[in-house]
Every structure is written in structure tokens, then in C-alpha cells.
Symmetry: C2
Subunit: 284 residues, 2 copies
């Protein structure tokens, strides 16, 4: 078993698990590094497969309960992986009172505000928030042409424009993804998420409203500039490849070191097979 | 009959008509001012009702033919109203050779580039391009609370954030509309157009992913900053009101003097009835 390093590496890493396979991939990577994990599955979001690891289930708003169990498990570090629904003050949220009071201070603001709030609340409880890039760096996509296919210069120019647009939007707490075809911005992700944005581009293709050549059309994806990577790691996977293909794009340009994938091998073989490039671009 | 003014006001105004009722509203307003019109209906786009006015029909790419007929009609000024499909080099476009060569120089760029190109080509032929704001200023929505309903301060703050986002996007030849709820940007219009963006927000509402209160949620609409208003006038109408209501928004904030409507009375009574505000904000 490899020996973990760092002051808190012997204590379990607490992982708050939202939807999808990404929390499981992170847990597996951490366990493979020789460190124990303790998973907190958000009810209604996390995969039942978290039961493969030491875990508890919790409502999204039960901050007090989560913290109690994390302390009991002896964890001093915590990470948050996977999408959770934005909290609202509905019955299925059921926040405890302290969390509710704090939530009201940030209600209605963008995701960054919500996440900074969560991090500061956790730090106040003596926990250190760690990012996927710190605890499982092997899951972050690096720079370079990552698969078998290479982008045309026109696709690289489209990606450059896309990253500029994302940068321009970062002050407004949006801008994790966009689609650019030649020199035209086709779609910008806001609250709908990357999947729905790609579905929209597929519809524009199907209706004949988007006629730019496939080989000059790209998805760009990055963390928001200035975003704390510990709190909201952008992610892509094999399903993203399928949606990019359906949208009639030539490939995916990601900001190197900012975007995770649960299984790089699976991502790249899906991309290779679909004829798509996956390009990591150094932005920071 | 009121007397028209200006050096070319006695000659007919040529109106290139794309889709929708907006070209007809412009033609009516110009005729009401005492000036004759000559309409060029784009085949496959313009309403058959343009036959109420002196007119011809033309394929989108038949620039030579359009110019010949405009000259024969004695027009020295021309305006472009209503959406047309983005040209592509497909059979239904059928451009003439000169236009084709020029088009190839701007292919794939944003709308502004395409439109600047059209204007410069027309100017080269001795025609003056006029905007709706010049020839039918009564169709442009002014500043102020225009209907019966007033926005809450929170809705005005959301609108302010929305206009900031549109301004940030203008360098990229996008950003005519956005939806903001409280302090969160929900949707940004790119190639899909305002109607599809509003449909997306309605879906986010229906699926429970957008929970912000209606009274703090707004549509903002403006010309792109630095956009030549003569070439692409943003427009709203009664159908926009219906889509804004369906998206669960409290109202519409437009940049004063930049957004046209074919029938202000119809727009505002639809908004009054739907309980929506229509607010004109001075931006320039």
C-alpha cells in the first residue's frame, strides 16, 4: 500500500457526495492512494453505490448532522464532489436553524457565493476544504492533445474565442462552458448546465440554423476565472463526448488542470471512436 | 397628409423585409408620415401581407436584382427590418457572383460583421442605410415605467446586472438578451434567439431548477453595445410578453431607444393584463 503524506493524510477524507459517478471516482482514487475515506451521501442526489465505502446519508440542509458524523469519523479534511440541487426553502430541503440563518444571508446569489459560504462555514468548524485537484490530481485533465484526433487551426481559434468569452463572464459568476463555431459564439451556459446547452446546439443543427462546418465548431469548458477550484470542479465524461458529437462539434477544449473526468481512459477512447479531439489549453 | 422632411424624403423608402410583422409596422409608420415605401420581400421569410404595399419578392442572395429594382423605384434610402436566415452556401440561397465573392470574405463571422458588410455594399451602390429609430422613431420604446405595473427594487437590481452582462459580451458580437433572477444570471442569448432562451427558462421553472421568486426575475434586452442600430434593431411584441409570463418573470427591462415594437399599445395592454412591468432604462 502506498504511504499517504501530509499532516492529515492518516485521518479519513470526508467526501460530500452529490449526483453522478464523480464522487465515486474521487473516493476510489483517494483509497488507491492509501488514505481512508468517509462519504456523506446527499439524499436524493448521490448514487446508491457510495455504500461501497464507509458512509452516511444526509439531507442537503442538515449541516449540523453532517458535521457531527464527520467529526465522529475522525476526518479533518473534507471535499465536495458532484452536483446538488440549489437549495430552496422548500420542505424537501429542511435545513437546521443555524444553517438556515446563514443561508438567508447568501440566498439568491450565484453559485460562487453559495460555495464560498459553505467553505467558510466548514472552516469555522475546524475542517480544511480540499479540492479534487489536490486530493486526486490524476483525475484532472492536463494540457495537450489528449486523444488520437487533433484540432484544425480554425477549431483552435474558435476555442481561443470561447475562453475569452468565459473570462469576460467570470465577474458575473457564470461562464463555465460555451460553444463557438468558426468566429461566432453559438451558445453560452448559464443556469441550464452544459448538457442542456449542448442539446440546444444539437437542435440548432437539426433545424438548419447552425450551418458552420463541424470541424470548426468546439465546446470550451473551464473553471470560472478566480473560482475556487476546491469548491466547484468542472467535469466531463463519456456522456459529454456523446452530446458533443450530437451537437455537430469537432471536439472539446478544456482549461488544463481545471476540469476533472472520472475515467480518462474511458473519456479518450469514447472521443477517439467518435472522431472528436480533446484538447487541454493552459489558461492560468 | 403630413409633410415629410429631409433631402430624400420625397423619394420612396426601400424596406428589405425579413420575417414577422415588424416590416409591416415600419412600412405603415412611414406611409403614415406621408412618405411612399417600396418593399423588397425576402422569399421564404417575409409575410405575404407586404403585398398591401408596392413591392417585389427576391431571394436573399439576389443582391444585384434587389438593387436594380430599388433603383427603378427611385429609392435613395433603404432600411432592413425583420429576421432573415443566416446565409449559407446552399442551393436555396443562390447568390449572384459578386455577392458571393463578398460574402466569402465575411463567412463565419458574427452577425455584426455580416450586417456591416451589407451596409457597406449598399453604400457603395449610392444608397443610404437608415434605421428604424430614424425613419419610424415612434416604434422605439422610450425610458420609464411604460405600463401599469412597476418593478420592485430587486427587479431593477436584477435588470442592472443583466445590462452589465450584455455589455461585457458585446465585444464578442453577442448579448442582446439575458434573464436574471435576483443576483443570479439564469440564461444568456447567443445564436438561439430570445424566444428559445425564454422557453429554456420556462423549462428550468417547470423542472424546479429555477426557484427564484417571480417578482425578482427579469428579461433584459438591448442592442449590442457599439452595434449599429440601423442594421439590427432588437424587437419585442405581445408574443414576447406571453413567453416572459410563461418563464415566470416579473417583467421586461429594455434599453431605452434601442428596442422596437410594432404596436406599443398592444404590447403594453398585453403586459398590463399579464401583470408584467415594461421598463425602459437609459443606457447610452
Amino acid at each position: 500500500m502506498p504511504s499517504p503524506s501530509g499532516p492529515d493524510a492518516a485521518s479519513p477524507l470526508a467526501i460530500v457526495c452529490g449526483a453522478g459517478d464523480f464522487p465515486l471516482a474521487v473516493a476510489e482514487a483517494v483509497v488507491a492512494s492509501g488514505r481512508p475515506v468517509f462519504l456523506i451521501g446527499i439524499k436524493g442526489s448521490a448514487s446508491p453505490d457510495i455504500a461501497r465505502f464507509p458512509h452516511v446519508w444526509s439531507g442537503l440542509g442538515r449541516a449540523g448532522y453532517m458535521l457531527k458524523r464527520v467529526r465522529e469519523a475522525g476526518a479533518k479534511e473534507i471535499t465536495l464532489v458532484g452536483a446538488v440541487p440549489r437549495p430552496s426553502l422548500s420542505l424537501d430541503f429542511l435545513p437546521d436553524l443555524r444553517f438556515l440563518q446563514a443561508l438567508l444571508r447568501v440566498a439568491g446569489r450565484g453559485d460562487d457565493h453559495m460555495l464560498s459560504f459553505v467553505a467558510s462555514e466548514l472552516a469555522r468548524e475546524g475542517l480544511t476544504v480540499r479540492g479534487v485537484h489536490e486530493i486526486a490530481p490524476g483525475l484532472m485533465l492536463p494540457a495537450g492533445t489528449l486523444g488520437r484526433h487533433s484540432p484544425l487551426p480554425e477549431a483552435m481559434a474558435a476555442a481561443k474565442l470561447g475562453f475569452e468569452v468565459l473570462t469576460a463572464l467570470s465577474p458575473y459568476d457564470i461562464g463555465q462552458a460555451a460553444v463557438v463555431a468558426e468566429r461566432r459564439v453559438i451558445a453560452i451556459e448559464a443556469a441550464e448546465g452544459t448538457d442542456l446547452m449542448l442539446a440546444r446546439v444539437a437542435e440548432l443543427r437539426a433545424s438548419g440554423r447552425l450551418k458552420a462546418p463541424r470541424e470548426k465548431s468546439v465546446l470550451v469548458k473551464a473553471a470560472k476565472r478566480g473560482q475556487d477550484l476546491r469548491l466547484d470542479t468542472p467535469a466531463i465524461g463519456s456522456r459529454t463526448v456523446e452530446r458533443v458529437r450530437a451537437a455537430g462539434l469537432a471536439g472539446i477544449a478544456i482549461a488544463a488542470g481545471e476540469v476533472m473526468t472520472p475515467d480518462t481512459g474511458a473519456l479518450l477512447s469514447a472521443a477517439d471512436e467518435a472522431g472528436l479531439f480533446v484538447l487541454g489549453v493552459e489558461l492560468r
